[in-house]
């Protein structure tokens, strides 16, 4: 039933109750059309508000979920941080001497004559153990 519809069936007790509740009966067809448009407009507005609230809620929820997924794992973060920290010191090696294409520390050893002992191979007293 549409309240305040004067084309409805003859007024009954419902009519007086509806008036007490604030319903207004249209006096002519134009007012009735206006009231119907207003009611549709209000319903549309209410729907828009509900949809907007849903959209905001969904955005908030998805934002929360995204934050959760990108939050670093505490244990792995701790371990990774220590490993990475030790790696920071490796940059010192960037400034250390480098020898391209050769190792300076491995000289070819050519046979050579040996120096002869100056005296008995027995150790001097001063080099004996304590």
């Amino acid at each position: 039933m549409i309240p305040d519809d004067r084309h409805a069936a003859a007024p009954d007790v419902t009519d007086s109750v509806m008036r007490r509740l604030g319903y207004h009966r249209a006096v002519d067809a134009a007012e009735l059309r206006s009231m119907r448009r207003r009611r549709i407009g209000i319903a549309a507005l209410q729907g828009t508000v509900v949809l907007a609230a849903c959209a905001l809620g969904a955005a908030w929820w998805m934002g929360q979920s995204r934050n959760e997924r990108t939050q670093p794992a505490v244990g792995d973060a701790l371990r990774g941080s220590i490993v990475q920290g030790a790696g920071k010191l490796d940059s010192i090696l960037l400034g250390m001497p480098r020898v391209p294409n050769t190792s300076v520390m491995q000289a070819p050893e050519a046979p050579r004559s040996q120096d002869l002992p100056s005296k008995s191979p027995e150790p001097a007293p001063h080099v004996r153990s304590y």
């Binding site: 941080s81 960037l94 001497p97 100056s118 005296k119 001063h126």
Partner: protein, 519 residues
């Protein structure tokens, strides 16, 4: 995260949370939980034998509040801190409604064991930490974990899994739970078979006193073997005890007579670091700096046969002319049996060294070094070294110097990369008195953290000399290293080799106090 647990959402309902708590309690009720033992390296009992590293820290909370450790903490935070870690920890603390520092103390401040191993190229880790029941309850209430298989709690946001064995909370990554499961099974089964505690290489360390910090480290091939460290503060000094058994030792320590501690006392202050040891008589290793230095001149068996009972190594430093940059110098000296023979041998060695580096640099052989009795020999090898090392600052002023040192303290042959250091060595050797090291240590050493820090910091005054293209990372690393080393005012160590491949040592780190802290 497993498929079973991934279906759980973070925001679990109250009944689900209660189920997790109930499951945890049920497991506790039926299991005979055996925590890491209280004895030395007791944490090894709950760790499988294939763990690559185990660290146990007792009373980290107390260490955090130790005034002497405050400066060390600052350096360690510089080293290990990161934005990611801060974000993760602060977020965790925020979710629990706790101060981040209080969370550190509560979660890892009492007794924590951390273990890790690598399987299929992935690192697995697990931590066994002693926490109060209220903190565990808060953890469950605030973080709302999901219920995982076997009564585990899974924290999807933190990507961690846990098992509660009061008063121990066992933690691990939620996507690699094998080590966590292994540790929990060992705690529940109350047996040590197959654990790291049964490792033969660890057995000697099990007789030590329990320490606040204990580390077990299994070395990958080719080094192989196992090292155990324990650290404690004693009279304001950090004392680290260590034992290693290597398949292939990365450093040399010779067994034999006790090292000469009196000689070390005399050498202290001659440079950044000094060590006195028995000469190494085993196989030479070209990857070891002192060996490589000696091998370059052809350090042959005849020279080694003429070595006496003592050897010393000093790492000094000198300012590079016209700059504030300091560069390292190296000095080595051997006590010799036959001084006349030694002089001839070392003259030949020095000449061969100079010829060798010239040959490598593609330069003509240098003129023979002048040899006058009693006068140190000096060979300017800087042209060859600059050509060879692309004009690196370390070699710009290097001059090879060697001489005999005849003194009441024995006859020595000394060689150095700087004539001034050679003169210092000769003077200090002569003045030294011979004192056998305590505990039969075969090697004793001392390092000045302050001198090393000054040395490292000097590199940042002209970093373009070292890294012309992009000096920033080098500067940051050198500054960080200087900050860390400045914390240790003085480091002393003594080591011995009780068996082949075994090295035992004690390191004592002394901290600066009050106004003596270098900036």
């Amino acid at each position: 995260m497993s498929a079973a647990t991934s279906t759980f959402r973070n925001a679990l309902s109250l009944p689900a949370r209660l189920a997790v708590v109930a499951a945890s309690l049920a497991v506790c009720a039926v299991a005979s939980a055996v925590p890491p033992g209280d004895g030395p390296f007791g944490s090894a009992v709950v760790v499988p034998a294939d763990a690559s590293m185990v660290l146990r820290m007792r009373d980290a909370k107390g260490m955090r509040s130790d005034a002497l450790m405050l400066r060390a903490q600052s350096s360690l935070l510089q080293l290990a801190g990161s934005r990611v870690l801060s974000q993760a920890w602060d977020t965790l603390a925020g979710e629990m409604g706790m101060d981040p520092s209080a969370l550190v103390d509560g979660l890892i401040g009492t007794d924590i064991t951390y273990a890790e191993r690598t399987r299929d190229g992935k690192v697995e880790w697990a931590a066994v930490t002693k926490v109060e029941q209220p903190l565990h309850d808060l953890l469950i209430a605030k973080l709302k974990p999901a219920a995982g298989a076997g009564g585990r709690a899974v924290f999807p946001v933190q990507q961690m899994a846990s098992a509660w064995r009061p008063p121990y909370l066992v933690l691990g990554p939620s996507d690699r739970t094998a080590l966590l499961e292994d540790v929990v099974a060992r705690i529940d089964a109350a047996k040590s078979e197959g654990s790291l505690a049964a490792a033969a290489d660890l057995a000697p360390a099990l007789t030590w006193d329990a320490a606040p910090v204990e580390v077990i480290w299994q070395h990958p091939a080719p080094t192989g073997g196992l090292s155990a460290f324990s650290a404690r503060m004693v009279d304001g000094k950090l004392r680290v005890r260590h034992r290693s058994r290597f398949d292939r030792a990365p450093i040399h320590v010779s067994s034999g007579a006790p090292a000469d501690a009196g000689l070390l006392d005399s050498l202290e202050g001659a440079g950044i670091a000094a060590l006195v040891m028995n000469p190494w008589r085993g196989e030479m290793d070209a990857s070891e700096p002192v060996d490589a230095f000696l091998m370059e001149g052809g350090f042959d068996d005849a020279m080694r046969s003429n070595m006496g009972a003592r050897q010393l190594v000093v790492v000094g430093d000198v300012a590079l002319e016209g700059t504030r940059v300091r560069v390292p110098t190296l000095g080595v000296a051997f006590e010799v049996r036959d001084p006349v023979l030694a002089e001839a041998q070392w003259d030949g060695w020095g000449q061969r060294f100079a010829e060798s580096v010239a040959r490598r640099a593609g330069l003509p052989a240098p003129d023979p070094v002048a040899k006058q009795p009693g006068v140190p020999r000096v060979a300017d090898i800087s042209p060859a070294m600059r050509a060879l090392f692309q004009d690196h600052p370390f070699v710009r002023s290097v001059r090879l110097a060697w001489s005999s040192v005849a003194s009441p303290n024995g006859t020595w042959q000394a060689v150095a990369t700087d004539p001034a250091l050679l003169a210092q060595l000769a003077e200090r050797i002569s003045k030294a008195s011979r004192v056998a090291a305590s505990d039969d240590a075969n090697e004793v050493g001392v390092l000045s953290g302050r001198a090393l820090a000054v040395h490292l910091r000097s590199w940042t005054t002209d970093p373009g000399m070292f890294v012309p293209e992009t000096p920033d990372p080098f500067v940051q690393a050198a500054t960080l290293a200087a900050d860390i080393t400045s914390v240790a005012q003085r480091v002393r160590w003594r080591a011995r080799a009780p068996a082949a491949g075994v090295i035992e040592s004690e390191v004592v780190v002394e901290f600066p106090t009050g106004a003596s802290i270098p900036k």
